[in-house]
């Protein structure tokens, strides 16, 4: 396995030795420099003490990783579906689309519910020519319902106070809060309107003060683009989980900026993460066509939600209020509904005509809304549920 992958961008003067060489970008303490290959090698071996070599550090890291896997496995005495055998099955659901929202002129990329349970904010790719800066990939409603935040390929997260005064230009009141060095993939307000948590394609997450735009804390550790985040519904702690293109889901302490737990079992990019309502676990949806449940106390993956017939990646996941149902939107235009405890799929929902890009359950759990590249949003509710009867798997 190669430690370094060379991507030659320029030919010029090396920032360290000043010789004319083929250069590649390196990051030293968050600063980007251009080094030649020799200086890169030297930098890689910097910071070693006597008796340490790069190889010995690497093998130590790997053996510790192996030990961690062993420890995790020791306490794994039962599978979720075994424990769930005595739980009554859910039967068959009839979920109907009750609202189809057609205001967008282009792909819907993201949506969020207002705490009033009825309103949503959604963002899309701007109409007309595909200009990179017009993809708005993330949006969020403020807890008070008086502002929204959004951002995307402009690398920023901006907050717009909501105004219904026709004389006021909403764009004029826009406040640029977050600045990343690559696209914004996700954003969320914390418990108040005054702080925003962002995730970006530059591999970091960050916490910002809305009023001043000040960076309060940054979170480094992902090895590639961070695609999603979710705040923990914990009563005392300040933690959140993020998922990225490095196939890792990482749990962070907001106060210290440290990663407290990491999980790496997915086989492809993690598009979406969402906490289980109790806060003891979270689910993730990935391009490997599976959704997985990770328990924070057991410190491991405890369930995989997958089916041979599901080939496309899951773009967005959310739990129902009790955590019994997991809704997942996929890139093959469908939504699959999973029984979290039994691990089986209870329903598949058609209707969208292009990939489902975003999905959220309403704050009071009465409905869920899905947004799609087919320019629409659909709000669906449960009409009724058939009692359980003997039937063959799925259907």
């Amino acid at each position: 396995m190669c430690d370094q992958t060379f991507l030659v961008n320029v030919f010029g003067s090396c920032d360290k030795c000043f010789k004319q060489r083929a250069l590649r970008p390196v990051f030293k303490k968050s600063q980007q420099l251009s080094y030649c290959s020799t200086c890169t090698e030297i930098m890689a071996t910097e910071g070693l003490h006597e008796n340490e070599t790069l190889a010995s550090l690497k093998s130590e890291a790997e053996s510790l990783k192996g030990k961690l896997e062993e420890e995790r496995a020791k306490l794994h005495d039962v599978e979720l579906h075994q424990v769930a055998e005595r739980v009554e099955a859910l039967g068959q659901f009839v979920m109907k689309t009750r609202r189809t929202l057609k205001g967008h002129g282009n792909k819907v990329l993201c949506m969020d519910w207002c705490k009033d349970k009825r309103r949503i904010v959604s963002s899309s790719q701007e109409h007309a020519v595909t200009m990179p800066c017009t993809w708005v990939m993330a949006c969020a409603y403020a807890p008070s319902g008086c502002a929204i935040a959004c951002g995307g390929l402009d690398n920023k997260c901006s907050v717009y106070p909501l105004t219904f005064d026709k004389n006021e230009n909403m764009a004029a009141k826009k406040k640029s809060v977050a600045m990343h060095t690559n696209y914004l993939s996700a954003c969320s307000f914390t418990n108040s309107d005054m702080q925003i948590l962002t995730a970006s394609g530059d591999g970091t997450c960050a916490l910002w003060d809305v009023e001043s735009g000040q960076l309060l804390q940054s979170f480094h550790g992902h090895g590639a683009d961070v695609l999603c985040l979710d705040l923990a519904p914990s009563e005392t702690g300040n933690t959140f989980v993020s998922g990225g293109c490095d196939k890792k889901a990482m749990v962070w302490d907001m106060r210290s900026g440290q990663c407290v737990q990491a999980f790496e079992t997915h086989e492809s990019d993690i598009n979406s993460v969402r906490y289980y309502p109790s806060g003891d676990a979270f689910a993730s949806g990935s391009d490997d066509a599976t959704c997985r449940l990770y328990d924070l106390r057991a410190d491991r993956e405890v369930a995989i939600y997958s089916k041979e017939s599901i080939i496309f990646g899951a773009s967005s996941v959310d739990f129902s209020l009790s955590g019994r149902l997991l809704f997942a939107g996929y890139n093959d235009y469908t939504i699959n509904v999973w029984d979290v405890l039994k691990g089986s799929r209870v329903s598949i929902l058609f209707g969208h005509e292009n990939r489902v890009s975003t999905l959220r359950v309403s704050p009071d759990g009465t409905a869920f809304c899905s947004g799609s590249w087919d320019h629409t949003l659909r709000v669906r509710g449960m009409v009724f549920r058939f009692p359980v009867c003997e039937r063959r798997e799925d259907g």
Partner: protein
């Protein structure tokens, strides 16, 4: 931009796992024993071997994956849309018809994963061939593309025409059946890579994800990286873990307890506003109501967090604490929350205010924190930041949770609330709505005046429909 919207530079094929999976499926569909039943298809005077019908494809998928026909049709459609299965008749639209319509499996040469990104030159040659072979076969959008390409790669146009003629000549040497098949295969390939206007572009990827070279932080895995990893692993090894059986049992009890409160699982009374278009449920469960429903009052007993998160629950709890002369605890906790989630600029002011009101010796609402925590907190207050009161806040929170909260649940006040709270009657959905009721937008929170602090003082008894 020429030749229609070319797919924006996306991830390399290796990172599109769904293509590999689709390929595995079509390969198993072509298995001589286990695969879809193959037959020879007669098209006018030509006989094409190894054809399958749409309905056979659907049946096979339904059986193989144990899914409904609807889902099998969807899966089959996806395979067709990605060009892995093509229709022999009318190859203009990539659709799967679950009937006798004949289809064939695309040759690996033209698989979406093998050849993409499709070159403009190849597309030009293809269109030129079509144009030469039979004038007027180019559809409108193809004519546009052809003209645009002609302008764009004008310098290579002689090459394009020459290649086109050569390919047509070579094709004439083949049997009619093969010619037909190759034409269909090629047409399908281009329908996938250059979709007609209005058709979904299945190759379209979202932006980002390493499309910009600089975003791919190719970290030099040097000493720093491994040292961080080692530190993380050491810490992780020291962490206490809980047995899986304990954790998983917790899910069962959580889901079991919350099930009746989950509208998507158990429905809700009087009715789900989205289904019945009647918002009585929302009115009854507004943040502050005169009479909270039984389910809501029950939830206050599930956990301390649940109680505090509900403004009504919190108000009642504050009342209860007042009776026990420990209301300052909850007020202190609320002030700490305000500090933690407040504006950065306000931090020093808020810290001062909290100190004056709750922590200073002789303060008006002095909170009873253990001496060690108090000492440490007072020490830290010299350099205030938003987390400076975390320890004190946690201490008070745990005090309320372990002491006051259980007493609240056993109190006459709570029991009274539970007894008074009603279960709404179910409103049956009208099956035949004779009048169409216009839908009105609810007032936006941004327009409402700031809500007044909810008080717990409310009379008994019901609104409409409460039993």
């Amino acid at each position: 931009m020429a030749a229609g919207p070319a797919p924006p530079p996306g991830r390399p094929r290796a990172q599109m796992p769904h293509l590999r999976k689709m390929e595995r499926v079509v390969v198993s569909m072509q298995d001589p024993d286990q695969g879809v039943k193959m037959r020879s298809q007669r098209l006018l005077v030509t006989v094409i071997p190894h054809a399958v019908t749409g309905s056979d494809v659907v049946q096979w998928l339904a059986q193989k994956f144990c899914v409904s026909e609807e889902e099998a049709l969807h899966l089959g459609t996806v395979l067709v849309q990605h060009g892995y299965i093509y229709p022999l008749r009318d190859p203009r639209s990539l659709m799967l018809r679950p009937d006798e319509t004949p289809y064939r499996f695309q040759t690996p040469y033209f698989w979406t994963s093998t050849l993409w990104p499709a070159a403009e030159l190849d597309y030009a040659i293809y269109l030129a061939k079509k144009n030469i072979r039979k004038r007027g076969t180019l559809v409108d959008y193809e004519k546009d593309c052809y003209d645009r390409l002609h302008k764009k790669i004008n310098h290579a146009w002689d090459l394009v025409l020459m290649q086109a003629r050569e390919q047509l000549r070579a094709a004439k040497q083949r049997r009619k059946g093969d010619r037909l098949v190759i034409a269909c295969q090629e047409q399908t390939y281009w329908l996938v890579n250059r979709p007609p206007p209005g058709a979904p572009n299945v190759l379209e990827q979202g932006p980002g994800r390493g499309s910009c070279a600089a975003s791919r932080v190719l970290m030099t895995k040097g000493a720093d990286f491994y040292k961080r990893e080692i530190e993380y692993f050491r810490k992780a090894l020291g962490r206490t873990r809980v047995k899986s059986s304990v954790c998983l049992e917790a899910y069962l009890s959580f889901c079991g307890q919350r099930g009746p409160h989950d509208p998507l699982v158990s429905g809700c009374l009087p009715s789900n506003p989205w289904i019945s278009d009647n918002d009585a449920y929302w009115v009854m469960n507004a943040p502050t109501v005169a009479a909270p429903t039984k389910l809501r009052v029950e939830r206050w007993g599930f956990s301390f967090r649940e109680l505090l998160e509900d403004p009504m629950g919190r108000a009642h709890f504050m009342d209860f604490l007042g009776k026990e002369f420990s209301g300052e605890n909850l007020s202190f906790w609320e002030a700490c929350e305000e500090l933690r989630y407040g504006t950065q600029a306000q931090v020093p002011t808020l810290v001062d205010a909290v100190y004056e009101q709750f922590l200073a010796p002789g303060a008006a609402r002095w909170v009873n924190i253990d001496s060690r925590t108090m000492e440490q907190t007072l020490e830290r207050l010299r350099q205030p930041h938003r987390y400076v009161l975390d320890d004190a806040q946690l201490h008070i929170y745990m005090l309320m949770k372990k002491d006051s909260y259980p007493r609240f649940l056993k109190s006459d006040m709570y029991k009274g609330l539970l007894a008074e709270a009603g279960i709404p009657l179910e409103t049956k959905r009208r099956v035949f709505p004779f009048t169409w009721r216009p839908r009105h937008s609810s007032p936006s929170p941004a327009l409402l005046p700031t809500p007044v602090e909810p008080t717990a003082a409310c009379g008994p008894g019901g609104g409409d429909g409460v039993a």
